[in-house]
Amino acid sequence: MNIVYLTLGLIAIYLYVSFASLLWEGIDRKLVARMQRRIGPPILQPFYDFLKLVSKESIIPRDANRLFEIAPILALASSIALLAYTPLGFEPLLATKGDVIVFIYLLGLIAFIRVMGAVSSGSPYAQIGAQREIIMLVSREVPMMLGLFAILWRLSKLGVEKPFSLGTLYQYNIWEIGTPLTVVGIFVLLLVFLLWLASEIEVGYFNIPEAETEVAEGPMAEYSGRHLALFKLSNALKEFASASLVVAIFFPWGISGHIGLTGVAAMVLDLIFHTLKVFAVLFVSMSVFRAITGRLRITQAVGMFWSRILPMSLIGVLLLIIDVLGVIS
């Protein structure tokens, strides 16, 4: 029976997140347009785009192999699986101890599947895009993992049942610790995570693999029709899940407790509130960032990750560790 509820829950979450993430894309496009004194598309534009792509013919290049067609399905499947491990205002559906590794793994896997699909297309543009995507993937995950593991380690010190589960983010709030060192550390890590989020969804500085003007959409160069629609959807889901992670770590407050709701109603309310927070985080990390910055070269981006963001993450983590070890009391 439990499995049935889980499945239904996952389907419901999937439908909701698909709607919310596509809606956010529309809002984002509108906001960026307004920042540049354009009127912009209607808010529901991504839905029209999606429906149009689904209805169009999918062209398979002559040089492509089977994986070219399978990759979009695999990517969407991994994104849906990712939702089962994503904190969405309440504990993830499949929260167990150590599930943070599954979360990171699935997030990396989606990018990797995109790359495999791109390599399978046989197009040199896609190949270049794929190489860039792999380089970015390798660079961006290290500071994020460092920060995430440090935060979960710090929370597990407070005594939780499921250490290293994303569910613990709702048991204890990282700000509650409240010592000056932690607060500074968390602010540093917040910055790291916002930059990571921007690179995860590839906007602004980090819009490198897809770089429309340089390599003609990069990994997605050969995709069309249904396959492209699936990729767009899985990207939107991934965007929402990544932002959810940031929200769950840094802004995990719910409102259902304050007005005394319980059960399904509380979950729905928390989910909606969580969605608003996700939109807020994405507004900073995506819309504003996209509107005010241009693309870096791939070497600059890699340099930025290893020589700026990784040390930043290290500093944040060290501050957390020093606080726990009580070196400075």
């Binding site: 040089d63 492509a64 192999n65 089977r66 994986l67 599954v102 793994y105 495999m116 390599v119 399978s120 046989g122 040199p124 190949q127 794929a130 792999i134």
Partner: protein, 527 residues
């Protein structure tokens, strides 16, 4: 008693092969398949018996009692099979059976096949002997049977220069290693006057002399050669690419395990048991300091897994890449064994040992699959140079799929079997010493890079070379798909397998209460 048939069957198959091959052209191949299939069935039976009863099988050759008449020590050759040995026997027979089925198609264009099948069965026989024996000289004999068969098989295609070169290198280095092992055994025999492993364990505990330590050094040194640990891995990187692919699958999947890491574990835990010597030391009795051995193994393990995996990244020859990756994976197994020795008797040590045993089985399956894939590619395309192989995926989708599964499993991606065993090794090494875990993870990063490179080669744009290739015949496809299924199914039940099989196997190998010795001692009235 089914145990003797584990050796009788392949021996019978090998010796009858010259006669059978006179009877008909195709018959010898089917004969080899039948014999190895029957051996697999016997191994499954033995494994099931040991696993269900959870006790060590002891079989005496020539009598029902290993103890000589009128004396109170064992004089006969005994075979002692614990769960570790039985598990290895099962793996060996399984992979050998698949490799022989694969040879039906793969070796079709070669001549001298009756010798080939004889040698393969002898190789299987040697490995089975190594994993079931409880007598150290008998162990040496089986080790040599295995080694000599593998020298001959590496150089089997003696019209190619690389086969001969690799064969000579392997033979010289391997013979030297074997002579180290023989020297170690001779020293032990001279000092203690017995060759039965479990009795030797008692004797060494009674009087641990310098000779015992020197012998241990010779044995470990020789066996590190045989397992391809790093300073002495160079034969492996030549032998595996040069051998026919069905043989590479057995060499990499089985030979370096049975004749290398299995034997190290057996000698460290059954002849020089760390627990026994820690116990002696608490009474201030003379003892062998097994921590030194543990650290030596860990040192070579770290070196092996870094160098092996890092060298795999830069290869352009597919089989050479797989061979270096085998070296790297041996590093993980040695790391597990080393930590199992260092943290003997604790939860961590047991976990590390279980991880090592689990990884032996997993790597045998995965690497066999990868080498079979490489064989298919060589057979169909005619090159193993990765720069010429771009874009195989379009013409050989099933082969590419098998490769993808194998590569993902060896990196250790979650839904496949490599994940659980590597995870256990990471976990136990992190609990023992985080630096070792960091080294292990670094090794995996290299291996990820190496296999991603090959995967992208398979998927990329079609090159001229692969324009008109096709999938191989069914007898070559079948073993690969069986291995894919085995890897996936094992990957879906990782913790069940770990709890039901690997942890008990580790416990029996650790023999916290001296079970391996007691299995023999119960014959010596009342002890």
């Amino acid at each position: 008693m089914t145990l003797p048939f584990l050796v009788i069957l392949p021996l019978f198959g090998a010796f009858s092969m010259p006669i059978v091959s006179l009877l008909g052209k195709k018959l010898k191949e089917y004969w080899a398949v039948i014999i190895s299939g029957a051996t697999f069935a016997v191994a499954a039976k033995v494994f099931y018996t040991v696993w269900r009863n959870n006790e060590i099988l002891l079989y005496t050759l020539g009598s029902d009692n290993p103890i000589g008449r009128g004396v109170d020590f064992p004089i006969r050759i005994v075979w002692e099979v614990d769960l570790f040995g039985a598990l290895l026997a099962l793996t060996i027979t399984f992979v050998s059976f698949l490799a022989i089925v694969y040879s039906l198609g793969y070796m079709k264009h070669d001549t001298g096949l009756e010798k080939y099948y004889t040698l393969v069965l002898v190789l299987e026989l040697g490995m089975l002997g190594v994993v079931i024996t409880g007598d150290i000289f008998n162990f040496y004999v089986f080790l040599e049977i295995m080694s000599i068969a593998s020298y001959a098989l590496v150089a089997f295609r003696n019209d190619t220069w690389e086969g001969i070169e690799a064969g000579i290198k392997y033979m010289f280095v391997g013979s030297l290693a074997s002579s180290f092992i023989l020297l170690g055994i001779a020293l032990l025999y001279g000092q203690y006057g017995t060759l039965t492993m479990s009795y030797l364990a008692i004797k060494i505990a009674e009087n641990p002399t310098l000779v015992a330590k020197v012998a241990l050094a010779f044995l470990i040194g020789g066996l590190l050669f045989k397992s391809g640990a790093v300073p002495v891995h160079m034969w492996l990187a030549d032998a595996h690419p040069a051998a026919p692919s069905s043989i590479s699958a057995m060499l990499s999947g089985l030979v370096i395990k049975a004749g290398g890491v299995y034997a190290i574990a057996r000698i460290v835990f059954s002849i020089f048991n760390p627990g026994l010597h820690i116990y002696l030391r608490t009474f201030n009795a003379p003892s062998v300091n097994m921590d030194v051995i543990g650290w030596i193994i860990v040192f070579f393990a770290c070196l092996t897994l870094l160098v092996g995996n890092a060298m795999a990244v830069v290869q352009t020859d597919m089989k050479r890449l797989f061979a270096f990756s085998s070296v790297g994976q041996i590093g993980y197994i040695l790391l597990g064994i080393g930590i199992g020795t260092l943290a003997y008797g604790t939860k961590v040590g047991e976990l590390a040992l279980a991880g090592a045993i689990y990884h032996i089985v997993n790597h045998a399956l995965i690497k066999a699959l990868l080498f079979l894939v490489a064989g298919v590619v060589i057979h169909e395309v005619g090159t193993k140079n990765l720069n010429e192989l771009s874009g195989l995926a379009k013409r050989m989708p099933l082969t590419t799929f098998s490769f993808t599964i194998g590569a993902a499993a060896i990196i250790g991606l979650p839904p496949l079997n490599g994940f659980a065993s590597k995870w256990i090794i990471y976990e136990s090494s992190a609990m023992y010493n985080p630096i070792l875990a960091a080294v292990a993870v670094l090794g995996t990063v290299f291996s990820l890079a190496a296999y991603t490179k090959v995967l992208f080669t398979f998927l990329g744009k079609e090159s001229e070379r692969v324009r008109d290739v096709k999938e191989p015949e069914k007898s070559m496809m079948f073993p690969m798909l069986v291995l894919v299924v085995a890897i996936t199914v094992m990957g879906l039940l990782p913790w069940q397998i770990s709890d039901k099989i690997m942890i008990p196997a580790a416990k029996m190998l650790e023999q916290l209460n001296g079970e391996y010795i007691l299995a023999l001692l119960k014959f010596i009235g009342g002890a």
